[in-house]
Subunit: 314 residues, 2 copies
């Protein structure tokens, strides 16, 4: 599969515009003060289905031919991509088959069920996720939609950067969380093309640092038994997202679990918005001084807000 281009992102933006929210960019005086920087938070936690994943899912679903669409779509997902695909499929009135690890947060299970998708449970390993979804695709004829390593998905996620760059001029840096790399690839491509002076940095939990190790070693390093509260970032880079991140991201920064929880709490308390742990990962890099942002204008993508309120880390 060829790598997506900036034209693919512009086409995705036009295709998904009727369905997605143009999410707001928020600022927070007290977080700016702590960071000694101007932080611009792109609030994909306010996106439909509660996360940026809805962009890529919509681009996938609304790119299908009528014949393909009739058989439906299938994916494996720790939750947000599954919910996003389920909602996008419902908007096109086609079936969605979602394979989920049985340890996914309750709020994500409920969301997917609420969107009327067919759910199949699997073990929380990359291998069993892939095997299970293959079986579902074989049985149903549905089109497989990868959560991240897919050109349409990457192009869809990149549309968030078009909005951010339009709404906030002259950014010195953009920070994203990185898991499977779909968000980072799309954002990085858009930033490199539309605002070449803006530095692109991805942030990863130290307990799920496959992207960091992959960039260090120059070869794709799978995530083995990742341990992080950031449940959206336990997946690994793929053969599309890895080369894009090699090409367009300046560096990968890792953060501790304590820093993630601290950052998440700070955003809740000071900004009065609900973000999930994955969203707190780039905020943690700033607050824990894992990256130097002093005096800079920094865009931070808050990737989602789907949290199980019954099991908060504070």
């Amino acid at each position: 599969m060829p790598l997506p281009t900036i034209d693919d992102i512009h086409q995705a933006a036009a295709r998904i515009k009727p369905y997605v929210h143009h999410t707001p960019v928020l600022t927070c005086a007290s977080l700016n003060h702590m960071a000694n920087a101007q932080l611009f938070f792109k609030c994909e936690n306010f996106q439909k289905a509660g996360a940026f994943k809805f962009r890529g899912a919509c681009n996938t679903v609304f790119s299908l031919s009528d014949t393909e669409a009739k058989r439906g779509v299938a994916t494996h997902s720790s939750g947000n991509h599954g919910a996003a695909l389920a909602l996008a499929a419902r908007l096109r009135n086609i079936p969605a088959h979602i394979v989920m690890p049985h340890n996914a947060p309750q709020v994500k299970r409920d969301a997917i069920a609420g969107y009327g998708a067919h759910v199949t449970w699997c073990e929380p390993s990359q291998a069993d996720r892939e095997a299970t979804v293959k079986r579902v695709v074989d049985e149903t004829g549905a089109v497989f939609a990868h959560p991240s390593n897919d050109a349409l998905v990457i192009a869809g996620q990149g549309t968030a950067a078009l909005e951010l760059l339009d709404d906030v001029p002259e950014l010195d840096m953009v920070l994203t969380p990185i898991g499977g790399g779909g968000l980072t690839s799309g954002i990085a491509l858009a930033v490199a093309t539309c605002s070449p002076r803006t530095r692109m940095v991805a942030v990863e939990p130290a307990g799920a640092d496959d992207a960091y190790r992959s960039l260090q070693s120059g070869t794709l390093q799978p995530s083995i038994n990742p341990r992080t509260i950031a449940d959206g970032l336990r997946t690994s880079l793929g053969d599309l997202t890895f080369p894009m991140i090699q090409q367009y991201a300046e560096q990968i920064v890792t953060v501790s679990e304590a820093a993630i929880i601290h950052a998440m709490r700070h955003v809740w308390e000071r900004m009065k918005i609900v973000i999930e742990p994955s969203s707190a990962v780039p905020v943690a890099a700033v607050l824990d001084k894992r990256i130097e942002v002093s005096g800079l204008r920094v865009g931070i993508v808050l990737s989602g807000g789907n949290v199980d309120l019954a099991s908060l880390p504070f």
Copy 2:
């Protein structure tokens, strides 16, 4: 003290404009669906110091003569008014003396300390709050700023309605939570004057229903040992707010504790914003069908977002 007028609200808006946020109005498709109405949430949880109280506090502090201001301001508060007055005082660089009940949430204690105010603890009763603040005023010469029963405070709170009515035309109804009545009085006066067709309804926890009983009986009924999670609504109406609410509010609706917690959770999960229990009170009236809103355009004032994350009700 004379009752405030709409001119006082317009003057307050001009006076506090350099200091307050013009807060956003958010909507939520899933809450609209549940209510079968169009709900417009005025997000005072995003106001500085985390609640609408900052409007009234700013109007008070920036109305003082230089001579008055030098002696500082004093108040008693379950938290939000205290934090708001402390921040407003800091912006004018004058002392703030805050009397707080010792059972106020930790997050509100921290905020007030963070703004550099002098804190005096008291028992969580109206009588001890008033006695303690009187002592502080006698000792310091500070100007007393009542949390709600004060013309400048009421006028300041009313500015939120000017913004809401500007941003959302043709509202059929506006809902506010009601505690001491400062917010409701100011909002109700502004709504009655600027949008006479809009119905004004205040919502109160059943466990702190002094406003409901006062309107029913036609005489001021104090709140005795109020029991509600909505810590901002445990105070009673006063001799300014009561007649204004009699004149301008259509009715008072009460809601159960279970409905408040349910509504609060729903807003967190669906809207991805942090609101405190007091903010959930008018939402509870809609979701628990304590007021008929079917087919209406309804403005709901989310009064604040200061929650102790260490002691959530879910």
